[in-house]
Point group: C2
Chain length 210, copies 2
């Protein structure tokens, strides 16, 4: 075929990433071959091997497209959230739910990460990366919850680590439920109602206090 201009090459790269999202979603990560993606994208495996080292590299690049905006959002929230920690926690889930519900890329990639790939050592760097991100999130939220306690937004006896675990479990649980059955409820509207119930609980129930 003809040689493409740099812009066209970048287009095919994005096309490959878009196509990978769809095919991974349909057949699972380990269930799809590079030939599947290539044919679905209307190219050959040569194109894939030019832009990416292998399937793992392609998968990582696909994740990166949605991970970066997420992490920058988190980093941004950490700055201006000190005055209103609980408000920041609410904003964070709100952003996540809205993003996944409205942006197809986020929808597909999170669906893949939650339900269409196997979290085993084989993924290597993905797992490590994910573990580090989880740890960073946990630390970040621990500080936020601690700030909320300090500012009187939460009861002084709140068990912060437990509350963080509950917060993470609930948000991910809602996310995963919706990804498995998007028709069963509205992620943004109903999901935030659930989270508001959670935030109410932190103030009223003694279950997560020492």
């Amino acid at each position: 075929m003809v040689k493409k201009t740099k812009e066209e090459a970048l287009e095919t790269r994005n096309l490959l990433l878009d196509t990978a999202e769809c095919v991974f979603n349909q057949k699972g990560v380990s269930g799809t071959t590079l030939a599947d993606i290539a044919s679905a994208a209307g190219v050959t495996r040569g194109a894939i091997y030019w832009h990416f080292k292998n399937k793992a590299d392609l998968f990582e690049a696909m994740c990166e497209r949605v991970r970066l905006p997420m992490e920058t959002m988190i980093a941004a929230g950490a700055e201006d959230g000190v005055a209103d920690p609980m408000g920041e926690l609410r904003k964070t889930v709100d952003y996540f739910f809205l993003k996944v519900a409205t942006d197809l890329h986020h929808h597909r990639v999170f669906d893949i990460l939650f339900n269409k790939c196997e979290f085993v050592e084989q993924l290597g760097p993905i797992i490590d990366r994910d573990a580090r991100v989880r740890e960073a999130f946990r630390e970040r939220f621990e500080r936020t919850f601690a700030n909320a306690v300090r500012l009187g937004q939460l009861p002084a006896s709140t068990n912060v680590p437990l509350a963080v675990n509950a917060y993470l479990s609930y948000t991910k649980g809602i996310m995963r439920s919706w990804l498995l059955e998007p028709e069963s409820f509205d992620l943004h509207r109903d999901g935030m109602r659930m989270m508001d119930g959670f935030f109410d609980m932190l103030g009223s129930s003694t279950a997560l206090r020492d």
Copy 2:
């Protein structure tokens, strides 16, 4: 090799299922070959192909060993739970958490189902089965929540379908969090504290009411 007696044959079958749990857990379902399982069990693929049709059949049998006790427990709870619906809901999670936290088979299999396998059409009957089970659970819990409202255990304006989604999302979220990081909290003790917070919330917060 020698021909085994019927009992010995059943032992190797169970050995294969046990080994499959471990290997699937380490390398993921699609990442493990039947040769992996065979060598880990100290037999050859011939043994596997004698007891099971193929990998999917082995996987299904492995799931069945934990699914059956679960479903009978659910069915039993449906009988004597009509007098105290909320108590039944609590008992159900309590049983789940305790079982997964203490029984290695349940721990491994749920870990596989949650994190180490791809929920795509390829699994075929597993997916269908799971969808039917989910639907049955949802109906069951919808009735239970409705009973709780009728008996005055929950506010009359409670949005039952939303509450059910919240209940399912929370329990599964807690389960999954713990399976990913078993050291981060105690599934039974802390998990039930989280759920108690949830039950408190249903009575105090207006977030899940109409």
